[in-house]
């Protein structure tokens, strides 16, 4: 090894000095300033409903093109695995993920467990005013925001126009009573064995449907301010009874008790059902000629009402939360804001609606499906939230079992819900 010349040595000293200054400058900038070197972000998304991984890839590629020093490593899991994966990763785990997709029902639990950071102050003003309020509700807990809203979704009512027409129904039903009448007519004509299908598997999916029904059948605030159960009376009980009645009358496909939202899509797409509730993305899937036998026959309207309540929609919004363990919260927030920007969201509006009010007023965007956009605008104005409590997951698990038990006839709806109400103090611990 040759010894460095004097010139080399002094240059090396200079480089070292400059490096030290750079590092010091970076360090002095405070936690919010981005680091000088390359940053890798780990992001956890779900592969189910709303934006597809292809969509996310497109948005992410645009981001990394504009921010070459940031690499994003996305990971996808099914919705049912998402919650557990986040908790086991962040709490007592290795804390791999910088940014996670957070469902509307988790902020309370995640904040209590110290998983997500408060980003109320870091959100640009145009975000606050430009995005639908319902999307913000999905990311909020006790007045603060813990995620950048990204998906604003609710369940719409999909129906096969041809099947309805064949049964003599020309206008889509706007109340659940009308839905039952239509279903009976379709079944009587022998058009399809089970006119209705639902994602009623023992998972959060069934709570979504139940909540949406309860919203028009008496109210869906399941736990009052004092922590007492109200789901076993009023809207919750009525909704459960209604669901049971649909099964008993042979109008709802009994296999629904094992169906996810994807299964609902494929059942309608296979021409095995006439009507169903599903998230926005159902429209694209059911009308996709490559996978649907009834492409072009499926139309959508807002969720049916009942009595004096015109419509209801469960708030299925999801936001991008920055984890407390993240080593690059600033970059992660940048990425989240990029994904949530109006530009990114308008890249593909077939699987998820943009959550920007401006998009709904833009003829360019809404021309893809004006009726759907109009219906969505109405629904987004009044979404129903599931209880925002830290013990929600435990409550939901108990309710899922109870609802399935009642629907299988193993207990009456009253008994099943009362059992959970009795257990509520335990769950709240």
């Amino acid at each position: 090894m040759s010894t460095p010349t004097t010139g080399h040595r002094s240059r090396r000293h200079l480089v070292a000095l400059l490096a030290t200054v750079a590092i010091a400058a970076g360090a002095c900038g405070g936690g919010a300033s981005p680091s000088a070197g390359p940053v890798t972000l780990h992001a956890l998304f779900m592969k189910q409903a709303a934006y597809s991984d292809a969509d996310v890839k497109a948005m992410t590629d645009a981001f990394t093109a504009a921010n070459p020093n940031i690499t994003v490593v996305p990971e996808y899991v099914g919705y049912d695995a998402l919650h557990d994966k986040i908790v086991t990763d962040q709490v007592g785990g290795s804390g791999l993920y910088d940014i996670v997709l957070m469902d509307a029902i988790w902020p309370a639990e995640f904040v209590k467990a110290g998983i997500v950071t408060d980003i109320t102050d870091k959100i640009p003003a145009d975000f606050k005013s430009g995005v639908f309020d319902s999307a913000w509700t999905a990311a909020a807990y006790q007045g603060k925001y813990y995620g950048v809203p990204w998906i604003n979704d609710t369940k719409f009512f999909f129906f096969n126009k041809k099947m309805l027409a064949d049964a003599g129904i020309t206008a889509p039903p706007t109340t659940w009573d009308a839905v039952v009448t239509a279903a009976k007519a379709i079944k009587a004509k022998g058009i399809v064995q089970y006119p209705l299908v639902g994602s009623w598997k023992q998972a959060e999916a069934i709570i979504c449907d139940w909540t949406q029904l309860a919203g028009v059948m008496g109210g869906a605030s399941f736990v009052d301010d004092k922590g007492n159960a109200t789901f076993n009376t009023g809207g919750g009980l009525a909704a459960l009874k209604f669901m049971k009645q649909l099964l008993d009358d042979g109008l709802m496909n009994p296999a629904s008790l094992g169906f996810s939202e994807d299964d609902v899509n494929s059942t309608v797409a296979a021409g095995q059902a006439a009507m169903a509730l599903n998230w926005t993305y159902g429209y694209a899937v059911m009308n996709d000629a490559k996978q649907s036998k009834v492409a072009g026959q499926v139309d959508v309207v807002g969720s049916p009402g009942e009595g004096r309540v015109a419509t209801s929609g469960v708030n299925g919004g999801m936001s991008l939360a920055i984890t407390k363990n993240s080593k690059h919260p600033a970059e992660a927030l940048k990425y989240a804001l990029w994904l949530a920007s109006q530009k990114s969201q308008e890249m593909d509006t077939t699987l998820a609606f943009p959550m920007w009010k401006a998009s709904f007023d833009s003829a360019d965007i809404t021309k893809a499906n004006p009726a759907f956009f109009a219906a969505a605008k109405v629904q987004f104005a009044g979404l129903v939230a599931r209880p925002v409590v830290p013990y929600y997951t435990k409550l939901s698990n108990a309710l899922q079992v109870a609802i399935q038990t009642a629907l299988q006839g193993k207990a009456t709806p009253e008994q099943a819900l009362n059992d959970v109400a009795a257990k509520l103090p335990d769950l709240q611990k």
Partner: protein, 305 residues
Amino acid sequence: MSGLARARLARARASPWPETWVAAAFIAPAALVILLVVVIPLGRAAWMSVFDISLVRPGNEPFVGLRNYIEQLTSGDFWAATARALFFTVVSTALELGFGLALALLMSQPLRFQWFLRAIIILPWALPTIVNALMWRWIDNAEYGALNALLTQLGLLHEYKVWLSNSDIAMWMVIVADVWKMTPLVAILLFAALQSVDRELIEVARVDGASGLQAFRRIVLPLIMPVVLIVLVLRTMEAFKVFDIIWIMTGGGPANATQTVAIYAYQTAYQGYDFGRGAALGYIIALVIMVLAAVYLRLLGRTGR
């Protein structure tokens, strides 16, 4: 052996190291692995089980003594899960033994193509548990499954039936999947046992006028009984701690219809984030298994090892 050889042998055997030290050296690596992965965690689990630990309530973990254990042992949910595990164990073990014995007897008959049967019988057992669960989940699918298709096409079923999302039937479908995979193992072990029975004993009995059935009951069965018992205990142990196949096929549902005690323990720990209770449950299950294991080892000793 000559005196010289004996002397050399004695010299060779008299190593400078005491036999115990040599044994320790040979056993040490194994002991180390097991110490790290079993003994230490067992201790830690015992420690965790006497605290109230909830992952989402970090920093607040009071000591609760035996509360977790008592709570579980007096909990309706725990006993329901145990009852389900017992149901699964009894039914699947009985079916596996019954079908396994029948298969083993079939395999020992002089039939054409016997070589083929004996060759492929191992395949279901070889299929990874997860793939087996996946396969049966697909077969039992309510809308597109082969089971529904077969039964309706054969005219045995009027319309497609819901198998796995039906609380009453779900456990049976899981049992079917497990029995399909495990019966070959029982059949193979019993077949080996049958092969070791001296043919002459049976011949003699037949000549003396015994029917096939009588020969089987009086001669063969008692001779293979030790193996039958051992297989029984082994399968019972395995069946009681069943997790994988149920987790993939039904996840414990529908409405907890297939929630056995192992699934219950997992859900308590990982979905309820209750590590204290989860650890206690793990210990309770381990205790039951260890009792069965003791029975197994006793039986083994008695079969003249």
